[in-house]
Structure formats: structure tokens, C-alpha cells
């Protein structure tokens, strides 16, 4: 191996910025002749004396992570900043809207979830008050269900955490072919929250689809309830791009859920949304 020479690492061409001026230094990468070397060293030496622009390179990196658990200290000045916001929020959010018989979770079992069923049924019930013709609904994707609902008291805060978005409900009249692409999407993605619709998923395809209890007829138009998010192409769904007609209900999804839960409380019943086999997946 060649003996190390102080000049071996100097690249052939390099730029250095000195107070806005650019100097180009052409140097020779290896030099064996000692006289030449001395001369060049001198030249380079003076060059580097003035070329001491700050450049640094990483020689080491250490990484770690802190978990923010309850044994950590708190910054009371930060708490003072958010306290007034918290008090106002808590007074509104701790209102109990109703009660649930069971925990409603996002966990998919054969294409359906207890939370998805509740969500879709509640949206359907509330929307049908003004649009009784609705055949079925897919008001959200599974990804849109942001938090589970607890067993027992359901507060306004719980509903905000489940549905933090400001999305609205829209009713579409769709051609059978567009309904088919929606059913295909539902099947391909392993099941989505639906109401008024039952189907089996076999090899990622929809089969035995029944809408309002009747077999799905691709030649028919259907009235479908969904959100402005899905209708706008959210999560890659394009089934609502060319509807026969549409009607904005001026009802936010969250408000529909709140209304639905409050009504159960008024009736003196508890929410009891269970898996009912509306969507199976083999």
C-alpha cells in the first residue's frame, strides 16, 4: 500500500467560499517529488490560512427517545397557559349524552365492527328523518372512526374524539354501475362501515349483496348516504363523481351522532350496537 501523503485527500477540484468570494483550487492529488511537495505545501498552507471557512462534518450520532409518562415533571407555566381553555372546554364536553350497553370498538370482525355499525346506523336514522328514500349508507371509512366509544356514559367529548371532523352528510342518487364500484371498494378493503346493506366478501369481491333486504340490481339506481369527504374522492373512492343527483342535508355527521345518542337517552334506552353479520369476510 502506498504511504500516506498529506495531500492524498485533497480532491482535484473544490470550491471554498471566503467572504462571498469563490476560490478554486486546483491541486494535485499525489505528489512524490519532495521539492515539488514543499512548494505546493507552502502554497496550500497559505491558502488554507485564509480559507478557514467553517465547515463541519458529523463524526458521531447518538439517538434516544423519551416516553412522556406520569413520572415526569410538569411545567406549570404551560398549564397556566392552557387552563382557561380547558375550563371552558370541560364545562361543555363533560355533558353526558347517553349510555352504551357495551364498548363500541373499531375492531373489524369479518368485515364489520361494533363502532362502524353504530356509526352507520345512527347516520342513517338521522338522515332518513328528512330523506326517507335513502337505501343504504357508507358514511365513513374505517379510517374515519377516530376513537372507540366506552361502555356506560358517553360524553360529548367522546363523540368529538370519535368524529372530530366537520364533515357533512350528502344523499346521492347513483347508477347501479357506480354502486357496484363502491361495493367493489368495500370488498377490496375488507369491509367498511355500512347501514341498510348486507353482503359477503369472498376473495375480495362482493357477493350476496342485499340492499334494504332485496338483492342488489345493477340496472337500478340507488339512493346512497355518504359524507362530503368520501363524495369528494377521499380515500381514493370515485363512485360519487358522476351521480344522477345529490342533496346536501346540512347535517354534520357529528351532530347526527350527538342527536341519535341524545334520543336514546330521552327514550330511556341504552345504545346496544353489536356485530350482526351484515358484512362477512371469508
Amino acid at each position: 500500500m502506498k504511504k500516506r501523503n498529506p495531500l492524498t485527500r485533497i480532491s482535484l477540484f473544490f470550491n471554498m467560499e471566503i467572504k462571498g468570494l469563490s476560490y478554486i483550487c486546483n491541486s494535485i492529488s499525489t505528489m512524490q517529488n519532495s521539492a515539488k511537495l514543499r512548494t505546493l505545501s507552502f502554497l496550500l498552507g497559505s491558502f488554507f490560512l485564509c480559507a478557514c471557512s467553517s465547515s463541519y462534518q458529523v463524526v458521531k450520532s447518538n439517538r434516544g427517545e423519551y416516553k412522556l409518562s406520569k413520572d415526569l415533571a410538569v411545567d406549570s407555566s404551560i398549564i397556566r397557559t392552557y387552563q382557561p381553555y380547558k375550563l371552558k372546554l370541560d364545562s361543555q364536553m363533560n355533558e353526558v349524552l347517553g349510555y352504551s350497553d357495551n364498548e363500541l370498538t373499531k375492531k373489524l370482525v369479518g368485515g364489520e365492527s361494533s363502532l362502524g355499525n353504530f356509526f352507520a346506523d345512527a347516520a342513517l336514522v338521522e338522515a332518513r328523518k328528512t330523506s326517507p328514500q335513502i337505501d343504504f349508507t357508507m358514511p365513513s371509512t374505517n379510517g374515519g372512526l377516530r376513537n372507540d366509544l366506552p361502555l356506560g356514559a358517553i360524553t360529548l367529548s367522546n363523540v368529538f374524539e370519535l368524529m372530530p371532523f366537520e364533515n357533512e352528510l350528502i344523499v346521492f342518487e347513483l347508477k347501479g354501475s357506480d354502486v357496484q364500484t363502491l361495493l367493489d371498494y368495500i370488498a377490496r378493503t375488507g369491509g367498511q362501515p355500512v347501514g341498510g346493506l348486507t353482503m359477503k366478501i369472498k376473495a375480495k369481491k362482493p357477493v350476496d349483496v342485499r340492499i334494504g333486504g332485496q338483492p342488489f340490481d345493477p340496472a337500478k339506481n340507488y339512493s346512497v348516504l355518504t359524507s362530503d369527504y368520501i363524495a369528494g374522492g377521499g380515500d381514493g373512492i370515485s363512485s360519487f363523481k358522476n351521480p344522477v343527483s345529490s342533496k346536501v342535508l346540512k347535517l354534520k355527521i357529528r351532530d347526527a351522532l350527538i342527536q341519535y345518542i341524545k334520543e336514546t337517552k330521552i327514550k330511556g334506552v341504552k345504545i346496544s350496537s353489536k356485530l350482526d353479520g351484515r358484512m362477512t369476510n371469508d
Binding site: Y56, V58, V59, K60, L68, S69, D75, F160, P164
Partner: protein
Amino acid sequence: MINRRKFIKTSGIAAAATALSIHSLDALANGELKHLTILHTNDVHSQIEPFAMNGGRNQGLGGVARRSALIKKIRAEQQNVLLLDAGDIFQGTPYFNLYGGELEIKLMSEMGYDAATMGNHDFDNGVEGFYKQLPHANFPILVSNYDFSDTIMHQSTKPFKIFNKGGLKIGVFGIGIELKGLVGEKNYGNTIYQDPVLKANETASLLKNEHKCDLIICLSHLGYKYSDKKVSDQTLAENNDHIDLIIGGHTHTFMAQPQDVKNRAGRVTTINQVGFAGINLGRIDYYFEAYRGKKLITSSPYMISDQLDS
């Protein structure tokens, strides 16, 4: 408190220690190195308070009051600290629904965030909704691949910022995710999404070659990785020349340790992401030595340890 990782590894890409110059090792031993500490969060999603004690998986974790105390403690110990966020500041608790993100931004300003990028949920109240909260921010919003020229935000963001920390030049820039299909069309309005890999390389190259930055950090909301071909931090890491660190978000990924990827130039691009909701605070420390004009090497492997020195 610190998730101590059990082993020290050299770079997964090169046997770093052997490639270091004698001077580097001397400097390491003598402590003649410049030290930079990067603290980071992503997808905090309006989690002001710790998660409620409701039996959930994350109960009792997180909260800005703890994060702030921890940041203050680290700042008291370290001279050169950068505190960064990779987007999705908004949405997730009623604090956002009630106050529109005002409190989130105010608290980030109070904690001394140095920069943040935008996530898709930061558009949840429209471009106007984000714009409205910017007077509460004392830190810049960095995005290099959203063109806001035809929106109310045309003067509200910067593609990058260069931080001078104890003589070190640190270039930080932001990259956002494709909005179509993810954000309602009326919410992003006339915002134009530009190719993230292209813009990232353009910006990183500017920071490296024109501005001579010593370290380049990308705040990315692309997401860690996907099973399909959707562009991710993984894609960006493999297809860039100058990024040292990608602080990621969007996919809410809890990484066991940062990932070191060999980039297009054969150097290390590290990806890190710390879950979501401020459950964790990430920390990456870099130690630098001066060139002192005596050496310029084309690739620069360095020692990597998944354990902090202090």
C-alpha cells in the same frame, strides 16, 4: 425515562469507526467536538393534556406540560438545541374543534419550537383556518413542495430555514404529502402539490452547495413507508444526495430505533418518527468536527449509537 437501547452499533452502511480519521477519534476522546441536539415530535394532533385514564392503550401518556418541562431540562443541559415538528399539529381532540388550533400553536411557541412543517390535518379548517392561527406562531412553517401562491398563505411559509448553532449551519426544510384524495378539495383550495422527491433534492442541494450547510434535516409528512408505490420517507431516503435526517410523520409509526438508509450518494440518510400525540419526544444528537481545511472526503461514515451520552 429514556428508552436505553442495549447495543451500540456502527453504521449499518459502512464500518464507520475504521474509516474515521485519527483526528476524529482524538477529538472524540478530548471532547473537542461541536454538539447539536435535535428534539422532535410529529402528529401531536391537538393532544394538549395527557390521554385520559379510560383504560385505553395510551392512558396517562403525553401532554404538553411534561413535554415542556423535559425540553427546558434538556435546553439547560445542552447548548445547541433544535426543536422541530413534522406536522399534523391540528385535529384529534375537542381543543381543535372549539378553538381552531389557536392553543396548539400558542403552546408550541411557548415551548420554543424552532420550526414545523404542515400535515394533511393542518388543512382541516381549510387553508384559511391554518392561516388564521399563524399570528400565534413565533416559529416558521417550512414547506418546499406546496405552492401556496394562489392562496391566502402566499407569504406564510418558507421552503427552508438555516439555523446557526454555535458555528454550525443547520439547514431545515419541509415536505408535505399529496393532498388530493386525502384532504377535501375545498380545504386545500388552490394549493399546488409538487413532486416531493424532486423538490427535496432541489432544496437539499441548495442548502448543501449554495449555503454550505453542515447538516441537512427534512421535516416530512410523507409517511414512513407503504406497501404500494406511494412515495414515502423510505423513497425519499433512497433517492436523495444530501439529506442527513428525515424527521417523519403521518403514519403514526412508533419506531424501535431510527432507520439508517443508504442514499443515492452512498451516504447515510436517517429516518426517525415518534408515533403520535406527543407520547414520545425524539432526540438525535450529532457531534461534529471541523474540517480545518486539511481534509475533504467524499463519503463520511460516522459512528452511530442508539444510546444517548447524557
